[in-house]
Amino acid sequence: MTLATLPAAVEKFSTAYESLLTRSSNTTGWLNVLRQQAWSTFSELGIPTKRRGNELWKYTNLQPLAAADFVYGVSGSVTRDQIKVAGPWDDAWNTIVVVDGKFNAELSNLNGTAGLNAGSLAEAIAGGTGDVELQLASLAGREEYAFTALNTAFIDDGAYVAVIDGTELKEPIHVVFVTSNATENRASYPRLLVDAGAGTSLVLIETYLNLAETAQFVAPVVEMFAGERSTIKHYRVQMENEKSFHLGTTRISQLGDSDFTSTSFAVGASIARNDIHTLLNAPGASCTLHGLYMTNGTQQQDQEISTTHAKPNCSSNQYYKGILSGKSHAVFSGKVVVERNAQKSDATQKDLNLMLSRGAEIDAKPSLEIYADDVTASHGATAGHVDRDTLFYLQSRGVSEDAAKAILVRGFAEEMLNEFKPTALNEFVERITDERIPILLAESDTIGTT
């Protein structure tokens, strides 16, 4: 694949990169090699553009990102209260707070749970904790993908979570990536490495918050290793401000009989991409990838959802829902690859969209690439409206037109909202959805027209 390069766009990251090398306290040898390799990959790739048959970015215009300037490495102050107001919070959770890419011990709330090693990625790298050297950037960062390369070039700190074999955690682990308040446009490269041992059971919530009103460029990379028979419930809450750019990569590798569920709530940023890939790497592994995205104004929201069935007897389920209004644009690019020897695979893919305005656009491309012969698979995508009959039904009961519309939109989201199980998280996504619906409806022109 050829990626067009915007030399100027690369150039503006290079000063920051040079200064990182001199400034970073993290001077571990292997890390430096990793960064250098990644930097050379990124400088070749540059910020991807829509041109030249670039399938991955065909529907996403990154020109505004390429045109913007960002400062790297400046950090403002953040308080616990600000985080609690802006995102989900529960004192009982083990919370790791990462401010502008750096682990912050004071803001974190780690309850010293047995079997859990959670904290700074920089410390884990420096201390050679666990398999960090083997694992870091092994799933993401060496591939031909500009933003994972960029993140890897800038690895300095972030969050590290390891759960010891056989540990069943009662309370969720919450990783908050927050960008502090600032007057300048800034770049940050959040990084999270999760090593879930054999037979572990855990809930991991990943939240992206933004306290600045300026444009933030956030390019996170998350790698997760799901051990044999592990059960991981993962949640991802993405809600940067409407000027920001979020280009996230999540890579999961699953061992035998592991079960991984990811549920995403993607509502923020001007341009956002949630690129998640699960590798079903041993028999009996299963994954469920769920999500709700809501867009309005001129937002772009991309869901790049892919699963590789590398071994037999695995199952995968991708199911996303979108609510689009204004002149926003969303992409659902779902891909399932079933490799030749992955017999008895079971794969489903579904993307349902509620189009609230004529100006909104959805590009839904579910796709299955099946090389094995004994496979059960299905896929589908729809884009629909709220119809006049349902609206009339509610109005005939005395519900006002506006309230009826809100009830119907909320009803569409309900199924996904219910997937957010931890109470404080569930309440949070419900509240944000309820706040967002009137904004979506204000830009709506299709409800009740069909």
Partner: protein
């Protein structure tokens, strides 16, 4: 309470689609009127036009409810004034739970009348009572509104809404169709228990069976968009025996 004069209605945006061709009907407080008629004669259209469905356009005539013309009012405004329609084919609404939505409906009605909203506790109590009364499986109403409900469950759910909302004019469009004997009795008991000098009903039905339980004050026969005959409860028995042939022939001759 309700006075319909020379009501003509067509489908919006379809030329020469007149369905109601001069309906005259007067319903006094406390009365139960039954409307019978062959398939496609316009019974549901009449019910929907009364409730304000935007798919239909009234081209002539008037509808006066409690002394006020309601043709310019939106469906929710008619509901706030006390009208209710139990649909022949209730819409399926995924993700919307009957509890939430009925609370919203009651709140909105209270608000429009400048009354206090019912507390969540009082509403829950009322709701649970009515769920039991109409014999709906309580787990069903925790699910989406009508989604995946059987035909009979949908009709019971319409009765649940009727009983919670306590309208002053209830229009039941074939609420008895598709019901088992027990459910039929529940619908009839619901209507009978709600009958009062202040509340009226228009019951659209194909079956005399329902009218054995609910004795109507007046029975109308609607054929090809017109009420061709009005009588007492005996008229329903006559229709049951003889069908609509005679009326259809007459209407055909007039057309």
């Amino acid at each position: 309470m309700l006075e319909i004069n020379n009501l003509h209605a067509s489908v919006v945006d379809i030329e020469n689609s007149e369905i109601l061709k001069g309906i005259n009907l007067k319903v006094n407080k406390g009365e139960v009127h039954a409307i019978m008629g062959p398939n496609g004669s316009g019974k549901s259209t009449l019910a929907n036009v009364l409730m304000g469905r935007p798919d239909y356009e009234v081209t002539a005539g008037s509808v006066v409810f409690y002394g006020e013309s309601i043709l310019g009012l939106r469906a929710e405004e008619r509901a706030h004034r006390g009208m209710f329609l139990a649909f022949q084919y209730p819409a399926e609404i995924p993700g919307v739970r009957p509890w939430q939505f009925l609370k919203a409906a009651l709140d909105s009605k209270a608000e429009s009348r400048g009354e206090d909203k019912m507390s969540v506790r009082a509403f829950s109590k009322l709701f649970d009572e009515k769920v039991e009364a109409v014999g709906i499986n309580p787990t069903l109403v925790k699910r989406s509104l009508n989604e995946g409900f059987s035909g009979g469950e949908k009709k019971r759910n319409e009765m649940l809404q009727l009983e919670v909302l306590q309208p002053s004019l209830a229009i039941l469009d074939e609420t008895d169709s598709g019901l088992d004997v027990d459910a039929l009795r529940i619908v009839a008991e619901g209507v009978n228990s709600m009958r009062s000098p202040e509340r009226s009903f228009i019951v659209v039905t194909h079956y005399q069976r329902l009218l054995n339980y609910i004795t109507p004050d007046v029975v109308h026969i609607l054929v090809k968009g017109k009420i061709v005959r009005t009588g007492g409860p005996d008229l329903a028995l006559e229709v049951e025996k003889d069908g609509y042939k005679e009326y259809l022939a007459a209407a055909g001759a007039n057309a």
